[in-house]
């Protein structure tokens, strides 16, 4: 970085005189004193590591494990990074994370305008892309969380390493609804905008809605940076911006101007050896370059002078995954790979047991603690924004609902109390989700009642923590359970099985009095409660709704998989029939394993079994244990 032009107060006074300035230097400073340079929260240059200083790293030690994504595992094997593998013919000539293996991996191009917050956007883009790559989930993050958490002003520069340090040390990076990226209010004079700062006050359930990270990796060696791009994911990068850069459209940028416009940081999302360039995602909106993406030649404008930062080991919050699971099982951030399955199931005598599956091979299921004493059927089980607590809800033997929660901070199961109708269908499973009404979001529950209707209950997640009866709707409901989703339009959708064996969608019309309305009818022969999630298929980006995925036990002990294309408007279609001796599907999720669908079913012999679907179809998994 260039040197300061003025070092002493005397030099500054002379400069002000020469320029006819309308301000003067503080009287208490002597000419020989250095010009005061108060810390702005970040010390210039202190935390941006030169590539030469970062040097080479031990990639085998850093990433020598199988990914949940089989395609990425194959890439690591091809580089000889996995134990027992030997490096093959070399890395591919080009990598582009905008689309790999038929899937999109990058969130939309954003716009930092008008603040000097490129460094926060680079760091947040890195967290978002690694959350997507490691866990197959869209996890839009807030640049404002780290920018304002660091108390940076709008005009204040920074660097991704400082941002990543803060994210690591402050419990992760929150979603925009917890704390948004904000810019100076309209009408604020230009000369005051750079000094403007947002007062950082995230929602108090922030600890339950951050993507957590461990340490990031500084990569100084260009060849290793390319291997990282091929086998792990994107990298942050910083470089000098010259005047001609603003005109960059298609093609590979080479500097043609001598006029420095500033320093800038972006997310490098690929490379192209044939063209000799990095592919980067900028944060100036889609109007720059080609849809917000540009290409810059290797080594140009100091892009390879500074170390690039990579990340692995993201730990996703339950809020981000809230639509990706239902019923008795969900994927938590626990375990080395932050992808353990957590499950609750009946354990006899009205007790419930917590089970969990390690997220690494051999993927064994293990028993944990028991709790409750009045469960009549399988519980609904989920993680919430309350510090990632596990929460369980079941229908009691007396036809009420009872809430238990595992307090992560102290490692104890606590009875959250009973509530509800008194005639909830004994033996059924309630639907139980956290919605985005309020912060922390309300709990929403729907349960079938003995009169064949559906009953909605909800709890405002603030004092006095009371449950409210949202009323009954529908009729002729034979089976209902874990099949409740809050849509991106904030309405609630559910699917229930009717007495004629057909399934029907119900939805709550929130803008019009929160009235429940009957929707489409599909399928036949359902003999148990359907399980419903909104998955990742069809979700082209973080703002697009994924398909509904539904599994239900039908006559003959089989399972039917149904799906509906929410973004494309595709009607319900049956995808497959599989399985045997199945009494009910008790839980369903889409987790970190290559967009696979995962089921837990209760068999006729009262054993729980895991089923899963990959690109080759549905497979029988482990028999977990009794329920």
């Amino acid at each position: 970085m260039p040197e300061e032009s003025v070092q002493t107060v005397g030099e500054l006074r002379a400069q002000l005189l020469e320029h006819g300035a309308r301000w003067s230097v503080s009287e208490h400073l002597a000419d020989e004193d250095p010009v005061p340079r108060p810390a702005l929260g970040l010390e210039p240059g202190l935390n941006l590591t030169p590539a030469a200083e970062a040097g080479a790293v031990d990639l085998r030690a850093l990433v020598g494990r199988e990914s949940g994504n089989p395609a990425l595992t194959r890439r690591r094997a091809a580089h000889g990074l996995l134990p027992g593998t030997v490096a093959g013919p070399g890395r591919p000539a080009a990598v582009d994370w905008r689309s790999r293996w038929g899937w999109p991996w990058l969130t939309r191009v954003k716009d930092q305008n008008p603040c000097g917050s490129c460094w926060a956007f680079g760091a947040a883009g890195l967290v978002e892309s690694m959350a997507r790559i490691e866990h197959d989930v869209w996890a839009p993050r807030s640049e404002g969380d780290v920018h304002d958490g660091l108390k940076s002003t709008c005009g204040q520069g920074g660097n991704p390493e400082t941002a990543l340090d803060w994210i690591r040390d402050n419990g992760g990076l929150a979603d925009p609804d917890c704390w948004p990226y904000s810019t100076p209010p309209p009408g604020l004079p230009a000369e005051r905008r750079d000094a403007w700062r947002a007062e950082y006050t995230p929602s108090w359930d922030r600890s339950g809605r951050t993507v957590r990270i461990t340490d990031y990796v500084r990569l100084g060696d260009v060849e290793q940076q390319k291997v990282w791009l091929d086998t792990v994911g994107p990298l942050t990068a910083c470089f000098d911006v010259y005047d001609d850069f603003f005109g960059l459209g298609a093609g590979v940028y080479h500097r043609t101007s001598d006029r420095l416009a500033g320093g800038h940081c972006v997310l490098v999302v690929g490379y192209d050896d044939a063209a000799g360039c990095w592919l980067f995602k900028n944060s100036w909106g889609t109007g720059y370059h080609v849809g917000g993406y540009g290409r810059i030649a290797y080594g140009e404008v100091n892009i390879d002078y500074w170390a690039k930062c990579g990340l692995r080991g993201t730990n996703i919050d339950p809020w981000t995954k809230r639509r990706l699971h239902t019923g008795s099982v969900y994927e938590s951030g626990n375990g080395r790979a932050h992808r353990n399955f957590e499950m609750a199931a009946t354990a006899g005598g009205g007790r419930l047991r917590h089970w969990w599956r390690e997220g690494d091979a051999p993927f064994g299921w293990a028993r944990a603690q028991t709790f409750a004493g009045d469960a009549s059927g399988q519980p609904a089980f989920t993680g919430t924004t309350y510090n990632r607590n596990m929460e369980s809800l079941h229908v009691t033997t007396g036809g009420r609902l009872r809430h238990w929660y595992y307090e992560q901070a102290v490692g104890v199961w606590r009875d959250g109390g009973a509530f509800g109708p008194g005639d909830a269908a004994v033996g059924s499973t309630p639907a139980f989700i956290q919605s985005d009404y309020g912060k922390p979001g309300n709990f929403e529950v729907v349960v079938r009642t003995a009169d064949g209707r559906l009953n909605h209950w909800w709890r405002i997640n603030g004092a006095p923590w009371t449950w409210n009866d949202g009323g009954r709707f529908g009729s002729g409901i034979a089976h209902y359970g874990p099949a409740l989703v809050q849509t991106r339009a904030r309405t609630l959708d559910l699917v229930a099985a009717r007495t004629d064996g057909r399934m029907q969608l119900w939805w709550r019309d929130d803008p019009n009095g929160f009235a429940w309305k009957a929707g489409e009818v599909f399928g036949s022969g359902a003999v148990s409660a359907p399980c419903l999630i909104e998955g990742q298929y069809g979700a082209a980006d973080e703002d697009t709704a994924g398909n509904y995925e539904l599994c239900v036990a039908v006559a003959g002990g089989r399972i039917e998989h149904w799906w509906r294309g929410n973004a494309a408007g595709t009607p319900w279609a049956r995808g497959a029939v599989f399985g045997h001796d199945v009494l009910a599907v008790t839980g369903m999720l889409q987790g970190s394993f290559g967009f696979n669908l995962e089921l837990v079913v209760l068999r006729t012999d009262r054993l729980l079994q895991h089923y899963w679907r990959d690109g080759a179809g549905w497979h029988e998994g482990a028999v977990i244990g009794p329920a």
Binding site: M1, P2, E3, E4, S5, V6, L42, P44, G45, L48, Q112, N113, P114, C115, G116, S117, C118, W119, G155, Q156, G157, G158, N159, P189, A190, E191, R193, D194, C238, V241, D243, F245, F246, G247, D258, R259, L260, A261, G262, G263, H264, C265, W284, G285, G287, Y288
Partner: protein, 113 residues
Amino acid sequence: MEVRRIVLGAGEAYALRLAGRGARGYVWTWQVSGNADAVAVRETGSGPAARLLPGEAVERTYEVLGRSPGGRARIRFAQVRPPYPQEAPYDEFVLDVEVVDAAGARRAVTGGA
């Protein structure tokens, strides 16, 4: 928006320093109205080099040259993002220039923001 008035002699130059926000995608543009031939404007480069963090503003310097005595020109500088012409400028600055004979040149700031 600051409006500054100056008087330049023919052949006299006036140096103007503006905060460049290139790391955010902004460039300074200018338009001359009135007696457009009375003045010439050119960018003379970045300001004093400083140790900068990514995203920070960089001072840009421009030179306004008086050319034709008796002319009056208004120069409107606007800091914009070229791909987004519908956006309001981040910052604006207007320089009203009166060009006189070199002998009568004097510089006077008669207006402010």
